[in-house]
């Protein structure tokens, strides 16, 4: 069993929904109240990325950069040099999409505690289309030394994650956010720290490890598998992609013998790639990576796109069933 406190309505059609970026907006304002070193910089997307909550309370600690993402993160690097904890925000397609080298050199190699906040990640951005649907950010950020990568599962967790990242005055960080409202599966009482993965539902037949708002879909998929097919999936929520909670992942796979990873990003080199690398080192096991399969998104409504690309609970449940039919559990002899 898991001792994680889930929102009891997580599987209900009328579960409360809010975008993770809204939680970030609240969390940044709270972080600003707690620590005057926290400053915020935005590249002409202040309301979109919800930084206006901070700006309205701390106008002198907010910097409008304009549409200049390379300058966004390098100005922040300079501010960190004189003791600030800067949060920079834009759409993930632009930051870290456009300014990766500046993040690498002036933030990671330079070891400055700048937080890169990439909003509107994933295909659920919707009608804006493939140019704005960032799918490669997890891969780009997790490969950088010193970078902490956090992909919160819902708005409540995003608020906690923002405050936690603001308390870290040593490490650079990447916070991945979504545009669309997604189900709230956690509660104010649910645990969150940077680092741990959380077992949301215990099971023996297969591990479903998911990151970001996809966890809400993974939970519903697990419920369907349990109730309709007598498949008992263990759901592990992984909000911190780096540093990865290797022990929790390996312990779960040690029990279930196989794993399905779920992310709204490129499955190659992203979260699924990370788990494959990790298990190759520690506990090689059959794995199914659910994510974008080496292609770009397209325009459509968010719900249509999640269904089209196989990210909704029904699609996840179907693929898990096919996977466990074909791939036996490897419980011994690793």
């Amino acid at each position: 069993m898991s001792d994680y406190t889930l929102n009891p309505h997580y599987a209900s059609d009328d579960v409360s929904r809010e975008p993770t970026r809204a939680g970030f907006g609240r969390g940044l304002k709270t972080a600003g109240e707690a620590d005057e070193r926290v400053v915020a910089l935005c590249a002409d997307l202040t309301e979109s990325t919800q930084m206006h909550h901070f700006r309205d309370v701390f106008p002198s600690r907010f910097v409008e950069i304009g549409v200049a993402e390379q300058n966004l993160v390098t100005v922040a690097s300079g501010m960190a040099r004189v003791g600030k904890i800067p949060f920079t925000s834009s759409y993930a397609a632009f930051s870290p999409g456009r300014n990766w080298e500046q993040i690498r050199t002036t933030i990671c190699l330079n070891e400055q505690p700048v937080k890169v906040v990439g909003s509107h990640a994933g295909v659920s951005v919707g009608p804006d289309g493939a140019t704005h649907q960032m799918l490669e950010d997890i891969a780009l950020m997790r490969v950088l030394p010193h970078m902490v990568v956090v992909n919160p599962g819902d708005a409540i967790e995003a608020e906690k994650a923002t405050r936690a990242m603001a308390r870290d005055d040593k490490n650079p960080g990447y916070l991945r956010l979504a545009r669309e409202k997604t189900p709230i599966f956690s509660t104010e009482q649910s645990p969150f720290e940077i680092g741990p993965a959380y077992v949301l539902h215990a099971g023996d037949d297969v591990t479903i490890a998911s990151t970001g708002p996809m966890t809400a879909q993974a939970l519903i998929a697990a419920k369907q598998l349990r109730e309709q097919y007598n498949i008992n999936a263990e759901v592990v929520h992984v909000p911190t992609i780096k540093p990865l909670d290797v022990d929790t992942i390996v312990a779960s796979v040690g029990k279930t013998g196989r794993i399905v990873t779920v992310e709204e990003a490129q499955a190659a080199a992203g979260f699924g790639g990370l788990i494959a690398e990790t298990l190759a080192d520690h506990l090689p096991a059959p794995q199914l990576r659910i994510g974008m399969d080496d292609r770009f998104g397209e325009s459509g409504s968010p719900d249509e796109l999640l269904t089209h690309f196989g990210f909704d609970a029904e699609a996840i449940a179907g693929r898990v069933r096919t996977f466990i039919d074909k791939r036996p559990q490897y419980k011994k002899g690793f």
């Binding site: 950069i65 390098t74 100005v75 690097s77 501010m79 040099r81 004189v82 002036t106 190699l109």
Partner: protein, 288 residues
């Protein structure tokens, strides 16, 4: 050596710095010659006259901050810092070696006294601007000043002009930038590779106070920095016309020396030139 030197002393120090650069690059066997030699006078003026700093306390919170944007010119910064007392001059000979604090391109976390990590071009000015913004608008501290050096080939980078626009908008008056206008970059002359002129006009149109000086005239460098501090309404850029490879006859004006070090024979010839002021004096100073 003490902080405040006379003009003649500064010129002598710059010459010593040039001999150190040649010796370091010869020992390293790789690295950039032309830019560091051309910047020796400006760096000497900055570290021995212009900037407030404490070599024995590199993180002193009253110091002025210096950002090298074109990181490949760092041999001149290392040489000046060693002459100023940040570390022992013997360490200069470890440049680019495994385990050295003197990385081929500067890394802040390796060597106390460096404010940034640079190499990929175009980002140092933004970092300097971030500090200048913080001092002016958040910390409200008019006592500290921010300096940056950029190359001229580096001005091809879009990031530079993002920073120029930013500093212009916010009238970052505690920011002074030296542009090393030596007219060369790796593939040739700047005006052949990607023309920069009208360079002064470009910066003026971005809202900057612009001066043009001879980057080897110590008095001009110091005067321009003083003038920049007197301008309280705008950021300042000093376009410093320099000779790439300055002080070594066979390196001057030749863009092939941008990214190459001297071999032993070339270094010997260069050091003789520098120590005898091209044959004008016969005294041979001691090497590093």
């Amino acid at each position: 050596m003490s902080g405040k030197q006379t003009q003649t002393q500064l010129e002598q120090t710059a010459n010593t710095v040039r001999t150190d650069i040649i010796s370091m690059l010869e020992a390293a066997g790789s690295g950039h010659s032309a830019g560091p030699l051309g910047l020796a006078d400006i760096f000497t003026a900055l570290y021995f006259r212009i900037m407030k700093l404490r070599p024995e306390e590199p993180e002193w919170d009253g110091r002025d901050l210096f950002f090298l944007s074109n990181g490949h010119c760092v041999p001149v910064q290392y040489a000046v810092m060693a002459n100023r007392g940040y570390f022992d001059k013997k360490e200069l000979m470890t440049l680019r070696q495994l385990g050295s604090r003197l990385q081929g391109h500067p890394e802040r976390t390796k060597l106390p006294g460096l404010e940034n990590t640079s190499g990929p071009l175009g980002s140092g000015l933004s970092q300097a601007a971030g500090v200048a913004y913080t001092l002016q608008y958040i910390d409200n501290n008019p006592q500290r000043w921010v300096y940056a050096v950029t190359g001229d080939g580096e001005l091809d980078e879009g990031n530079i002009w993002e920073a120029a626009m930013f500093a212009g908008k916010y009238k970052l008056s505690q920011l002074t930038v030296f542009i090393d206008r030596n007219n060369i970059q790796i593939d040739g002359t700047t005006e052949d590779v990607m023309p920069l002129e009208d360079l002064a006009g470009k910066w003026r149109s971005f809202g900057w106070h612009v001066q043009e000086i001879d980057g080897h005239n110590m008095a001009s460098i110091i005067d321009a920095a003083d003038m920049a501090k007197a301008i309280t309404t705008r950021p300042s850029v000093i376009i410093a016309h320099t000779v790439p490879g300055k002080g070594v006859d066979f390196m001057e004006y030749d863009y092939h020396w941008h990214g190459a070090p001297p071999n032993h024979e070339q270094a010997k010839k260069a050091l003789t030139e520098l120590r005898t002021l091209r044959g004008k004096i016969t005294h041979e100073g001691e090497g590093v």
